[in-house]
């Protein structure tokens, strides 16, 4: 436990130092960069609201990752699953009749998002269970395909592109019908939606599932020893496929919440790398859903702060990605020191 704290503390320290170096390299003095970062996190209701929305997306993806990881699977396909969830949600959200009640519309939208993501992860799950193909490589490659599908959907009028009226028509979908938009959580100047509530509920349900149900215990057994789980009569394939599909489904819901938030359209690159960041959150949390919630919030704030860092202090936003990957490399690289503690 003490070694764990040391490792995490050390990793955070290294990441902070790298962050400071990057800020300095971008020409921003530490105080300027710090101020810009802070403003981007808490400086305005807008900033904090968008941080919360990002937190929700990350928490949903990381929760799914944790569930699949419990069964021994590594889902690196969050990005593609979000893309498919977004496409499915858009398809539903633009075609609902005008008078649909909001509850119904939102439910339909989220279910579509879940189904889209679950389907995409289901491809990898099926290949893993039936053909023994490593899910890391398939979910990874399917990310590229999924992102191209978004591109396809927003460029083809036969699919989801808004009617082209002039050469300036943007390649994006029509906006969602009013009823399918996520209600705001607080004041109108903050974009925060009920997505954060949705994410919190998912985290709590997942924590209950993994800790206090037979299914959770079975998933753990499958993750720790497939042969022993099979010997004891657990449906290994079904548990694995199911957990990966749920992971994809939650990523799909994350995609759907992005679509159902301002500006309510499906556009190129709407996933903006959240799939990867969600994966990082899941890895850092190492199976603890409390940690998922906490790290998601930290990373959500960091993402929002990073945007302001670029706008206000001229430090490329890519530095946030660098800091995140340094963090994960440090934690993953320190694994033998933690193992030493376990002995």
């Amino acid at each position: 436990m003490r070694r764990d704290l040391l490792v995490y503390g050390g990793a955070v320290l290294v990441a902070v130092l790298v962050g400071l170096a990057l800020a300095a390299g971008g020409g921003a003095a530490p105080d300027v960069a710090g101020r810009a970062l802070w403003d981007g996190m808490f400086g305005s209701p807008y900033a904090f609201g968008s941080a919360l929305n990002t937190t929700a997306v990350l928490a949903l993806i990381a929760t799914g990752f944790t569930i699949a990881h419990r069964a021994g699977l590594v889902n690196v396909g969050g990005e593609g699953q979000m893309a498919l969830g977004g496409i499915a949600a858009t398809a539903v959200g633009v075609s609902l009749p005008a008078g649909t009640p909001a509850v119904l519309a939102l439910t339909a939208l989220l279910i579509a998002g879940f189904a889209g993501g679950a389907l995409w992860a289901g491809v990898a799950a099926w290949l893993r269970v039936r053909r023994g193909v490593n899910e890391v490589i398939t979910t990874l490659l399917l990310n590229f395909v999924g992102l191209c599908l978004v591109l396809l959907a927003v460029h083809e009028e036969a699919l989801l592109r808004q009617p082209v009226t002039s050469a300036d028509t943007l390649p994006q979908s029509e906006p969602l019908v009013e009823a399918a938009r996520l209600p705001l959580l607080g004041p109108p100047e903050s974009p925060a939606t009920i997505a954060i509530v949705l994410a919190a509920v998912s985290v709590i349900v997942a924590a209950l599932l993994l800790r206090h149900t037979a299914t959770g215990t079975r998933l753990t057994a499958v993750g720790m020893s497939e042969p022993a789980a099979a010997r004891l009569g657990l449906p290994v394939g079904r548990l694995q496929a199911g957990s990966l599909a749920v992971a994809g489904g939650l990523a799909g819901v994350a995609g759907a919440t992005l679509i159902a938030t301002v500006p309510y359209v499906l556009a190129e690159h709407f996933t903006s790398g959240y799939g990867f960041t969600g994966l990082v959150v899941g890895l850092l949390a190492r199976g603890s859903l409390t940690a998922v919630a906490g790290i998601s919030l930290a990373f959500g704030l960091l993402a929002s702060g990073g945007i302001n860092l670029q706008l206000a202090a001229g430090v490329p936003a890519a530095s946030v990605q660098v800091v995140q990957s340094v963090l994960i490399i440090c934690v993953a690289g320190a694994v033998i020191f933690r193992k030493g503690a376990a002995r």
């Binding site: 690196v76 023994g132 890391v136 398939t138 191209c148 490329p316 890519a318 694994v335």
Partner: protein
């Protein structure tokens, strides 16, 4: 140029980086180390190559920079995978994100005016390049391109099943403990194999930046490194099928440029995704899981227990 010749030409040009990158990755995976970071090292190599070439005005100096940067990145991966025995897939994916973030950041700061850089120009080999269709495609490459192919051939010969090197690498990848007990330096060989991946991936990245597009753009590799890894898996860890997979992926990528000439009018997105889709199919359709080196992704530590 006929549509077909254009396709072959583009296919070869795009296959060369895949080829050299997967040659190194093949050696490394046969020794038991999986490097998802091929993508990140390629990108690092491309960026360092572009910066070096831009700064000095010389493509060769750029190549040198690419190799040094590739080796450094690979050394990081080797320390993580071999020395620290960290999860190879996790650190590989994270290293890619690091490379993407760092090169994007670096490019923002460095390439403030224009991103074109001096590069290697094609050198047509006499006579050979006059062969119709395949002549210009195969024998009108840059020095760097020929170098990549040469290195690939060299690796294939050096690490063939019958050579001492090949035998040692196969044994280490199949059963590290047994190899250790036979007196082979398991972790040294694995470390070296990852460094080799650094060289080949950096060459691949440099080829993209210096011999192909003569510029650096954000995320220039755009998943080509993953295709190289997929080619090794689809090729069942054997040299010839891996080469075939690379050629196949190269052609699939080239199709997005050559398709109009064939009178095929598909949306760009479909053409862009096709190599990845094919890679999924290849990886899942062809692989019997048993073919993988038994010790792949399993770090080795000599820990005898009571």
């Amino acid at each position: 140029m006929s549509a077909f010749a254009e396709l072959v030409d583009g296919g070869v040009r795009l296959a060369i980086p895949l080829l050299v990158a997967s040659a190194g990755e093949l050696v490394s995976e046969r020794a038991g180390v999986l490097n998802m970071s091929v993508e990140g090292i390629m990108l690092t190599g491309a960026f360092a190559g572009a910066v070096g070439a831009h700064t000095t005005g010389s493509a060769s100096a750029g190549l040198l920079c690419a190799l040094v940067a590739g080796l450094l990145a690979a050394a990081l991966q080797a320390v993580l995978s071999v020395t620290l025995r960290a999860d190879q897939i996790v650190t590989g994916v994270a290293a890619n994100a690091l490379a993407l973030g760092a090169t994007t950041y670096g490019a923002r700061l460095y390439f403030t005016e224009g991103r074109t850089v001096p590069g290697f120009d094609p050198v047509a080999l006499p006579l050979l390049s006059d062969i119709p269709v395949i002549g210009p495609a195969l024998f009108d490459q840059s020095v760097l391109g020929y170098g990549c192919v040469l290195l690939t051939v060299l690796l294939a010969v050096l690490f063939g099943r019958r050579t001492g090197f090949g035998l040692a690498v196969t044994a280490i990848g199949a059963d590290a403990e047994t190899a250790d007990r036979s007196g082979l330096p398991v972790n040294a060989v694995r470390f070296g194999a990852v460094l080799l991946v650094g060289v080949t991936s950096a060459l691949a990245g440099a080829h993209l930046a210096l011999a192909d597009v003569h510029a650096f753009t954000d995320n220039l590799t755009a998943g080509a490194g993953y295709l190289a890894v997929a080619a090794v898996i689809a090729g069942r860890w054997r040299a010839w099928p891996t080469l075939a997979a690379c050629a196949f992926f190269g052609l699939a990528q080239a199709l997005q440029f050559a398709a109009p000439a064939f009178g095929i009018h598909l949306p760009t997105a479909v053409l862009v995704m096709s190599p990845y889709l094919l890679a999924v199919v290849a990886v899942s359709g062809l692989v019997g899981a048993s073919r993988a080196p038994a010790g792949l992704t399993r770090p080795f530590a000599r820990e005898a227990r009571a």
